[in-house]
Amino acid sequence: MPRTQKPTNGTSRRSGRRSPLASVALIAIGLLFTGGAYAAFSTSTASAATESASAQTVAEGEKLFAANCATCHGLSADGTSAGPSLIGVGAASVDFQVGTGRMPMQMNGPQAEVKPVQFTEEQTAALAAYVASLAPGPAIPAAELLDAQGDAAAGAELFRINCAMCHNVAGAGGALTEGKYAPALDGVTPQHIYEAMITGPQNMPVFNDMNISPEDKRDIITYLKYVENNPSPGGFALGSLGPVSEGLFLWIFGLGAIVALTVWITAKSN
């Protein structure tokens, strides 16, 4: 791992001025804008991805790959004991893993953690283009599937049947075996949600287009964005974790406040 670390640092030094700005912009977009902004953002990425077929981009990706990924995934991306083969995983997989900061991994753990993104959008696109050039695989989804303008009710039903057992009905995440977990989906971009479904990162199963059609995936994203953009009608959602957080809240704050009041009621007045 330390060997992967070094070139990564080199990369970020080389692009030192661009990289932080890009992440700031990303965060700002994520925080401020809703569906429309997502669509705009995704369109640019998607069009970048289509253009990236050019040989030059692939070559640039290959260089980045050799410097940052080959230690674990092998120089020809066919996998080593430290990392799986990337032949046929497709551009979508690279965009998801690198674009959410999961790759390159910093240390071995139960699963790759979300970290600050290590590459610029162009670099990520180049890496994706390189990996996609090795063998056909899931491509980065088209912008019209990511606009979150589908049928939220249909999406919600599909989400409950296929996703909620791990990610929780409100997308709050949940536990898996041996320290692994399904992450919360709040704030994840539509593109990354879509890519996760088609590539099945880590222990997540693959949901191919025969299982959940592209329109269905659009509906699922629509539902998730609906939940994200419409705060709970009942007030603060207490993490949407269900009865555990409600019970803790009641005991600590509800009963706590009432016990404090009983002390006041029975204290001698001054």
């Binding site: 039903e157 599909l158 049947i161 296929n162 057992m165 791990c166 949940g174 898996l176 075996t177 041996e178 692994k180 399904a182 099945g200 880590q202 222990n203 997540m204 199963p205 693959v206 949901f207 191919n208 025969m210 299982n211 419409n230 705060p231 709970s232 009608p233 009942g234 007030g235 006041w264 009621i265 204290a267 001698k268 007045s269 001054n270």
Partner: protein, 357 residues
């Protein structure tokens, strides 16, 4: 202070002051001859509102201000009801409606309550009162009279003497609720046998595996490596009546792994198709849907009680409270390439029940 005038010997307390108890009265308590005496009530400590008329005035002002505030809260709640209507399809409007009516009501209630308590604490008479206690038991005369009444009643009715009447009465009282037990049989349909129902599901030879909830049949080629499908029998969604009951038994999870990862017993070797296996989704513990499939470890986890099943190895239990492996649905592929069931499950799905074997 307290005295023994009430004379209930059970009541004589060891911890009441200065009374020398007989050993019987103290029960099991060790009576110390040199116990410290109860010093009696401490001197009364007046409040600021008792001493300072301005503080009293201030407290009075606080109390009525709170009561007025409560009225304001109630009016605010009424206003909020009108100012923040619910706009159809706008959950934000529900949130505002909920919050502002709630704020008004909470203000009304809290100000009213705090005002009343403050009145009681700061302004009402502050001397503590004392009530004497008496033993809970009736006095000896009362008890004697009670016994007498029962005896008189017994004599007058002949309850003890007329044994046939008494015993038959007791018998009648015991038997009369029994018809209720029979009536409760009607809670479930008369013509059904739960054991038979639990032992079969909708799956039968040739039923196509279909997607939940659309009901679209699944081809073997659709199930790519690492996939996990939520599956129902084809035709389930067309059932008008009893849909959920059938679904509660028939739901299946379908996954595909590399055939070499699959550990299969010889008798089950024909139950899978090219690394595709189908297992009942209903936990063998208490019946939650087991859907958390980890495609790399091939483990299935139940989110309710954390039972874990190894899908690569006949869905055997590897952790948690469940005992039995998930029942496997034998599958095959029909002429059109669709996945079909070879038969129903060969054992009952879901939680164990007495007649299961």
């Amino acid at each position: 202070m307290a005295s023994d005038e009430t004379s209930g010997k059970d009541l004589t307390a060891t911890d009441s002051a200065g009374v020398d108890h007989g050993s019987a009265a103290a029960g099991i308590a060790v009576v110390s001859r040199d116990a410290v005496a109860n010093p009696g009530f401490p001197p009364h400590r007046p409040r600021i509102t008792d001493l300072d008329p301005r503080a009293e005035k201030r407290a009075e002002r606080t109390v009525y201000t709170l009561f007025y505030l409560s009225i304001v809260g109630s009016i605010f709640a009424i206003a909020a009801y009108m100012i923040f209507p619910i706009v159809p399809e706008d959950p934000g409007s529900v949130r505002l409606n909920n919050m502002f009516i709630g704020i008004g009501l909470a203000l009304a209630l809290l100000a009213l309550g705090i005002g009343a308590v403050h009145w009681g604490k700061a302004l009402m008479h502050d001397e503590e009162g004392v009530d004497e206690r008496h033993p809970v038991r009736g006095t000896d005369e009362t008890r004697a009279r009670a016994v007498e009444i029962f005896q008189e009643a017994n004599t007058e009715s002949g309850f003890g003497r007329r044994t046939m009447i008494r015993n038959s009465l007791i018998g009648a009282l015991v038997v009369f609720p029994l018809p209720a037990v029979v009536l409760f049989r009607g809670l479930a349909p008369q013509d059904q046998d739960p054991v038979a129902l639990l032992k079969q599901t909708m799956w039968e030879k040739g039923t196509r595996l279909a997607l939940d909830p659309s009901g679209v049949p699944i081809k073997a080629s659709d199930v790519t490596l690492g996939s996990s499908f939520a599956v129902i029998p084809e035709g389930l969604m067309d059932l008008g009546h009893g849909l959920l009951e059938e679904k509660a038994k028939a739901v299946v999870i379908l996954v595909r792994m590399k055939p070499e990862d699959l550990i299969e017993t010889p008798e089950r070797a024909s139950w899978s198709y090219d690394g595709i296996v189908a297992y009942s989704k209903i936990c063998t513990h208490v019946g939650c849907p087991v859907g958390l499939y980890e495609q790399q470890t091939h483990h299935l986890l139940c989110p309710c009680h954390q039972s874990q099943f190894d899908v690569a190895d006949s869905a055997k239990v590897i952790f948690g409270p469940a005992k039995r492996a998930l029942p496997q649905l034998p599958i095959a592929v029909d002429a059109d390439g669709y996945l079909i069931a070879q038969s129903d499950f060969l054992e009952p799905v879901g939680p164990s029940f007495w007649e299961r074997q």
